[in-house]
Symmetry: D2
Subunit: 148 residues, 4 copies
């Protein structure tokens, strides 16, 4: 049996301890793209005077999103994926009290290397307020597709 | 009154909600450098099959370390620091059950821009096993030093 | 007299020695965006066996594009801009014999920090073949706008 | 016949067209590390008013250095190496009239991924004046070592 988007979806939403610990929710997963939602919690604040999300939490969320999007390029449950590196550009501070959404998109799906673009944002009055963008690079080791 | 390393130390170890939530401990802070310790907790695992730390937690820790080291370049309690961007290079997976240490060092202390180098590692049999390196860039807005 | 897009255009296309040396041509410049063209020359090859552009030339072109787009955010001929850092993601090798185009877009225009997104591509049969993407961060020091 | 450091040295110093075009000289190459020298030329200036090297030339030099250091991890003349991404942190402007040296060191030599640290500097009164640091990530495809 090959790797299905349903299996991947279940694994990401149920079996990643950090997702449960922080409250990261999988909103949508499709080939080459994934969307997460992270409801605001006071524990995720970095600067209590300014009431801002900790930037590292945004980085963690983008890392998760990029990794999950990259996993959709795998063929088989035994294929392996390792993050090579990640960059986050912080565009605006994350506002305390506001949830964060994040989306990742595969921009290169090579035989050995996968690259993703990620974005994190608030939704304010129905508008997307971009707070960070990211890039991830991943090393993929894929078994040939199983024909059974 | 100017900004002291003692005030900064107290602020970082007591008043950053994410540090308390994840269990990040300040080990040492000196001008231009800071060291953190993050004891292992099962909630911080990313891949339970392989028993690996979530890479995003490592990114969060490096982000905190780089930010704290940059804060030691400020003169005054009202000076401001914003993260411009951060890069993490993942060298080895973080092993479940093992604590992580992280250190940040300011490599450029400009009038407007601060750059830091960060490292995260396990200590295995007294040896440093490097798991990730990072770079951070920060925008600093400093008031002139108060002479009182 | 304030800084005009015409002045900037003249400066970029005529007075940057590296642009003349490599043959980098300014195609278009507008507020927040710039487009360059770099005709193929055999001197710009990095790997003669595989007949590929040198990746560093692509990095140089993206750096120039990001810097020029950032300059369009300045108000005055005396305003200063310094590159903080740059990242290049190499998506496909640059093919010998084919020209390269590059575009940069400002994605954050802050009072102190400017961030740009850059792309480099070949045009093959009227299609854009993306070869690299980049991110740049810049420190801007702007004088108040001159009202004369 | 396996890949020797002498072959690699000859290839890098003689057969890379961009190196000849810009005047990049190979100073030293050893397993996991390489050093280059780029004599100043007026054609490499980016800002003639301020008399500064073009930052993209520094990026190109760091890219070459990281790539060459990565090549020392290959076993065989047919092994392949592709740059995944590169980051440059600009610490100080490159001064017109002063030569630039650059060194790259492999910091991760994985079976599939190689990571390098790079530095570029002037030598002023026998002191190293660091102008930029970089990180590169490379995908390596190595044939098994030939035993003949």
């Amino acid at each position: 049996m090959n790797f299905s988007i349903e299996q991947l979806s279940a694994a990401i939403s149920q079996y990643v301890p950090v997702h449960n610990f922080l409250g990261i929710e999988l909103v949508e997963i499709k080939p080459l793209t994934v969307k997460f939602h992270l409801p605001f919690r006071p524990e995720l604040i970095g600067d209590p005077r300014a009431d801002r999300w900790h930037g590292g939490v945004v980085a963690l969320l983008l890392d998760s999103a990029g990794g999950a999007a990259s996993m959709t390029t795998l063929n088989n449950i035994n294929d392996k994926l390792a993050t090579i590196d990640m960059r986050v550009d912080y565009l605006k501070p994350g506002l305390g009290g506001k949830d964060i959404w994040a989306e990742a998109q595969v921009t290169k799906n090579g035989s050995r290397v996968v690259v993703t673009h990620m974005e994190a944002w608030h939704e304010i009055d129905g508008e997307k307020l971009l707070i960070a963008e990211g890039r991830g690079a991943y090393s993929a080791v894929r078994e040939p597709i199983n024909q059974d």
